[in-house]
Symmetry: C2
Subunit: 171 residues, 2 copies
């Protein structure tokens, strides 16, 4: 059959972050990949931002003292837990048993997501359209228009099918 | 439940064209949306290019005489049939009965696809990553880099989730 792509045990990576949109992406994934097939594996991927480039001995070290760096790392760990717990509350209510793996990466989101999808030989990547790139300023907006979003990048660079989900209010 | 998006009867639009990649997109769609649920509806969407802007009374009318325009329309109709038959051969071999609707649009592919998805209130759009935009020249390549592909545009502009599928050889 032309274009045969069937596979009974799929590995589906969902890139989750602090946004409600990424939880919608997870929910979409559960409804469409896990409602009738318990052999699929859900991989929850969270990417922490890269560590600051300044060290405590940098000329601007007073801005990133050991205490501040530690506080930032602490905040990052708390964020991981918060997002993973939120994701868990989404799939816990799902009636089917789901095989779940959690992966936490660190670095530029687009590179880490593409790298993990490649490394795990994932069958599908599911993510929100605006994930890992909240618009906070005109500069952010300019960057997104010029460089595209993380989902744009991933859709272009990963080999597997990519599902881009939008939060209803952001449609 | 946060991000609840479940729906038992989904309308899935697959944008098909002459490429093998779009048949892969169709196959992916069948495997993931129709293997366990026969209540979903598959909408096969083909978009014919817009008619030439020159009429038979144009200064360059000799280039687009009535005969040539008729021949182009004839070619367009044959292409529709060819693509739809190819798509049929993909879903005919699928073991489940599938509700299929065929839609043929005419115009700029990106606008027609977004318009049809909106009008039908589709639940998901599935398409190939390079559909409706084969690179034939350096100019085409430049345009794609600058303006993005049809799938980029659709992923940004339609409200529903968008699945972008790649042909294995083009990964």
């Amino acid at each position: 059959m032309e274009g045969e792509m069937r596979k009974t045990e799929q590995k589906i990576v969902v890139a989750v972050d602090e946004s409600k949109e990424s939880m919608d992406a997870l929910s979409w994934c559960l409804s469409n990949f896990f409602s009738n097939n318990t052999n699929n594996t859900l991989v929850l991927l969270y990417v922490k931002p890269p560590p600051p480039v300044y060290s405590s001995v940098d000329a601007a070290g007073y801005m990133f003292s050991a205490d501040v760096i530690e506080a930032m790392e602490q905040y990052g760990s708390e964020m991981v837990n918060s997002v993973m717990q939120r994701a868990e509350s989404v799939y816990r209510n799902f009636e089917t048993h789901i095989n779940v793996e959690r992966v936490v990466g660190c670095g530029e989101a687009k590179d880490v997501i593409c790298g993990v999808v490649e490394k795990l030989k994932a069958d599908t990547l599911v993510m929100g359209s605006h994930g890992y790139g909240f618009i906070k300023s005109k500069f952010d907006y300019f960057c997104r228009v010029l460089l595209g979003s993380v989902s744009d990048y991933c859709a272009k660079h990963v080999k597997c099918p990519v599902v881009i989900v939008k939060h209803p209010e952001e449609k």
